[in-house]
């Protein structure tokens, strides 16, 4: 997609009409484009007016459950910034900061890190994990499947049956859309077993969480932050291991 074209996605973005990868890419663009941010704001406001035509009084039970719900949780701590004006939640360079309803990064940290990141420059306490990734990547029976996600990046899945492990290596992968995480899955027929979340990093090598030996395929889906026990969206990438070399 050319830079000229991407500005035209404001309308579709404002009405949640982009698929997850397009949304991720567009948020990356929004982070650097003041004009698009202003236009998205106006178009969201406009779209919201359409709801006037479909207003329906809700059942009384909704009011009860909302009021019961809010009594049990406090509003989030405000974002503290040295520029508390309209740039208060200006996006970070890679777009992940533009998260209006980010609930708690801490939850993602506690619940989310099923997959293990390895980095070549990691300190020595990561040696064992580094070895786990290398063992798979260098295994004599290693099978590789490459998936090109276009402008959203590239990813290679390597599986070793003898190690019963799989490793995913990404290159230039766009951040997941705001409020979302990438989740990895072992797929066997219509069974999806979570293999953990992918950390938000464009270039990484991750050992999948769990037993990889029997998987027919590995998939990546976009899930609500913190991940899901079953996929809630169609995979953005599927690595078919039955055809792997």
């Amino acid at each position: 997609m050319s830079e000229m074209d991407i500005h035209k996605l404001t309308g579709a973005y404002a009405m949640d009409a982009l698929d997850e990868l397009e949304r991720a890419r567009f948020e990356q663009h929004l982070a650097t484009c003041e004009d698009c941010r202003a236009e998205v704001g106006e178009l969201r406001e406009t779209a919201a007016l359409l709801s006037e035509t479909v207003a329906v009084p809700p059942p009384a039970s909704l009011r009860d459950s909302v009021l019961a719900g809010i009594s049990q949780v406090r509003p989030l701590a405000p974002e503290v910034t040295s520029h508390p004006s309209r740039h208060a939640d200006r996006p970070a360079a890679r777009g992940r900061g533009w998260v209006p309803f980010l609930v708690a990064a801490a939850i993602a940290l506690i619940v989310g890190v099923g997959a293990v990141v390895t980095q070549p420059w990691a300190p020595s306490d990561d040696v064992e994990r580094l070895t786990a990734a290398e063992q798979v990547l260098q295994a004599p029976d290693a099978q590789e499947v490459f998936v090109d996600l276009g402008e959203a990046g590239r990813a290679t899945l390597t599986r070793s049956k003898s190690q019963d492990r799989a490793v995913i290596t990404t290159e230039d992968m766009v951040s997941a859309p705001s409020g979302k995480d990438y989740e990895l899955w072992f797929i066997d027929g219509d069974e999806f077993v979570s293999a953990g979340l992918m950390p938000d990093d464009p270039d990484q090598t991750v050992v999948l969480d769990g037993s990889a030996g029997a998987a027919a395929a590995v998939g990546i889906t976009v899930e609500p932050e913190g991940g899901s026990t079953q996929p809630t969206s169609d995979p953005i990438a599927v690595f078919d291991l039955t055809e792997a070399t």
């Binding site: 996605l9 009405m15 949640d16 969201r44 405000p78 996929p231």
Partner: protein
Amino acid sequence: MDHVRPVPDGAPEGAPSGGDPARLADLLRQAALGDEAAFAAFYDATSARAYGLALRVVRNPAHAEEVAQEAYLDAWRSSTRFDAERGSAVGWLLTIVHRKAVDRVRSVEAATSRDETWNRETAPVDHDQTAEAAHASLDAARVRGAVATLTDVQRRAVELTYFGGYTHTEVATLLDVPLGTAKTRIRDGLIRLRDLMGVAS
């Protein structure tokens, strides 16, 4: 449809359901300080639009109620992040509602498509159906008037996107136009509505 519900203080039935923008922003600011009564007033002023939007997108009343409930809880939690300089309180709320409603319809379909072959194109949405008890308001008439000035393709693209919860790629297929045309119509249509209804940042 059950029309009996508690009438909120000072908000007669049939009044514009959005309420006064300055008052709503104020209620949200008080909610951010932990004022549950202010949030209840915010709920009363906005719930017909929030629930109606969720219902229109997800169709199933039980799902719509869950979506609206999640959205209000999110709004309560993130009320501290609301910035009146960036937009209206009701627009901010409905952005949350819409996102959750769209996530819900897509996730239901993704689950269904794993179990069986599912073709959403076989179920075109009848967008002229107004059997849902639409809340009469001056704003609604004004919005309908503005929508009526759109070209046919613009109107259908905007409605399939906002109320149908379809992606622009799916809208292109449903309307049998190239993707570039669908993108352009969605944006053109919204921009025309924006200008007609005087929405400015």
